[in-house]
């Protein structure tokens, strides 16, 4: 193999590995080619949610709902919209977009053109690609944002004045103050944005702003601008099921406010038998960047560019 071939293989292997790992978070798992049934997205979850009886969540000492615990991932992270079969590790899947009802992200025409450009330049073997190497998913550089941090789950803790989320993936954490404090000025931009939380009845509402717009919503180039306001609503609908709804408000990119709907399942801590692994509930170090040199150098060598935030036409 030439060095370029080795790099292609290394990059492809890394991408495949990340997809395989992502698959394990879904209940559906592997789907054989030719299967028409799609993995469950927003449509399936909303239909199931509608059948659930009313649920009163357990309470903390302060009377707020108790959402604490380890929560499994929201999705594979591969495409928030509906997909057809891509390859053996990327089965057909329903859209996670619950509003608008057609499951499509309501891009403005110029923004849709950008998204199409991102996807055409992935060089992943997805239909419609030009073969050009444009950008790779920024997550492959160990980066996260909202709502994609939830993709592989998190542990949630409630302490006085704060909700805290802790991820195993990439040792990310999110500290959500509940005291209605001010936000940084708009010029201050962050990969993970700046979250502010509040309780709306039994729903935890987290509004995030101050994003830098450098992270994708999924691995296929769906994006938001740095001016986006993302509102997450967490609601316990069964003892072990969290309704997770994400509203994207970014009027310079989309024609309307739109919504993603996910089901999060409580994660167990291994079996309860005598051979139970005492460390099963522990979260061990997931160093990411430290072992990523081959991927970084490989994608650079192949000519992929660093993704920079999309600038709406009005600001050009």
């Amino acid at each position: 193999m030439t060095s370029e071939h080795r790099l292609v293989v290394a990059v492809a292997a890394a991408a495949a590995l990340s997809l395989c790992a992502a698959m394990t978070t879904s209940a559906q798992g592997f789907v054989a080619p030719g299967t028409t049934k799609k993995g469950p997205g927003a449509k399936t979850w909303l239909a199931e949610r509608a059948k659930l009886p009313p649920f009163t969540p357990p309470r903390m000492a302060d009377g707020k709902p108790d959402f604490q615990g380890r929560w499994g991932g929201s999705s594979s992270g591969d495409d928030v919209e509906e997909t057809e079969q891509v390859d053996a590790t990327t089965p057909p899947w329903e859209s996670y977009v619950s509003n608008p009802a057609d499951g499509r992200i309501p891009y403005q025409p110029w923004a849709l053109a950008e998204r199409i450009k991102h996807r055409a330049g992935l060089a992943r073997g997805i239909a419609g690609e030009t073969g050009e190497r444009l950008f790779t998913d920024p997550q492959t550089y160990c980066l996260k944002s909202v709502p994609r941090y939830a993709q592989r789950g998190f542990e949630l803790i409630q302490t006085p004045g704060y909700v805290t989320q802790m991820l195993n993936w990439g040792h990310y954490h999110r500290r959500i103050p509940l005291d209605n404090r001010s936000r940084p000025g708009v010029a201050a931009k962050f990969w993970m944005g700046v979250p502010r939380g509040r309780w709306d009845g039994d729903t935890l509402v987290v509004e995030s702003t101050n994003f830098n717009g450098k992270m994708w919503l999924d691995s296929v180039g769906n994006f938001v601008s740095p001016n986006v306001r993302i509102t997450e609503r967490f609601r316990l609908v069964e003892a072990n099921t969290m309704d997770y709804e994400v509203t994207i408000d970014d009027p310079q990119v989309f024609t309307q406010v739109w919504t993603l709907s996910y089901r999060l399942r409580r994660q167990g801590a291994g079996g309860g038998g005598a051979d139970r692994d005492p460390y099963a509930a522990e979260s061990w170090e997931h160093a990411c960047h430290e072992g990523n040199t081959n991927h970084i150098e490989g994608t650079q060598h192949l000519g992929f560019k660093w993704f920079t935030p999309v600038v709406p036409p009005a600001q050009r």
Partner: protein, 252 residues
């Protein structure tokens, strides 16, 4: 007389390791709902250990400072001292911080970024601003898992001794340093940290370093941790490798 006043004033203003070592025994911290001392909040050091844990003069971009090592001397073995000198001479290229790697323990504590402590019944979590580093200090009765394991931040197991959180950390890589001056360790590093609240807004942070392949005997660091008392104090983000990748993408 005027000189004496100035001298006394200067001495009074000079923080020393000895002062930092004297916790106020009278202080009883509040308790969490689990009945343990409540160390929660946002904390940060106010010293120059990030640059050099030993006494050092200023250089361009480096503030002068008294060190945090008790007695100031680090008991390197002769061959290890030679490596430390080489590290120092080549620190611009060799310092792992320059690669934006996880910085290890205790270095992460005295980098110039805040961190937040969040306590649970079975573990104490430290959420650092630098590289969104997340550390779980397990207090669930499990011993260190069997090694050898190369972890950047080691394996942390905690216990309470009175009001002091004592953390035993092992299973390190040999890829991290103690500071920007090339002080280093091997994968045999064994760290014991002690977090002792001394009043509402201060903790004493003491660290014992043991690494028989690099040092002739265990040695200690100590320093105060200060609560960030601003009403809206907040751990934000320092995404080191993101900034580095973006800046150097087309230059490599």
């Amino acid at each position: 007389m005027k000189q004496l006043v100035l001298l006394i004033a200067a001495l009074a203003c000079m923080p020393t390791v000895l002062e930092a070592q004297a916790p106020s025994p009278a202080y009883t911290p509040p308790r969490t709902k689990d009945g343990h001392p409540d160390l929660q909040g946002i904390w940060q050091v106010l010293n120059t250990a990030a640059w050099n844990i030993q006494d050092h003069n200023a250089e361009l971009g480096v503030p002068a400072g008294r060190g945090v090592v008790e007695g100031n001397e680090i008991p390197y073995r002769p061959e290890a001292l030679e490596k430390k000198k080489q590290n120092f001479a080549n620190r611009a290229a060799l310092d792992p911080e320059g690669k934006c790697w996880l910085s290890g323990v205790p270095r992460i504590t005295y980098m110039p970024y805040p961190f937040q402590i969040v306590q649970q019944a079975d573990k104490v979590n430290i959420l650092y601003e630098y590289n969104h580093t997340l550390r779980h200090i397990y207090m669930n009765g499990n011993p260190h898992p069997e090694g050898p394991i190369d972890w950047w931040m080691g394996d942390s197991r905690g216990r309470w001794e009175g009001n002091t959180l004592v953390v035993d950390v092992v299973h390190f890589t040999d890829q991290t340093w103690f500071d920007r001056a090339g002080n280093f360790h091997s994968e045999q590093l064994h760290v014991v940290e002690r977090y002792t609240p001394t009043d509402r807004d201060h903790m004493l942070y003491e660290v014992t370093i043991e690494d028989p392949t690099v040092f002739t005997r265990p040695w200690k660091m100590s320093m105060p941790l200060y609560r960030r008392v601003e009403s809206e104090a907040e751990v934000l983000e320092y995404e080191c490798y993101a900034y580095m990748l973006e800046e150097h993408w087309n230059k490599r």
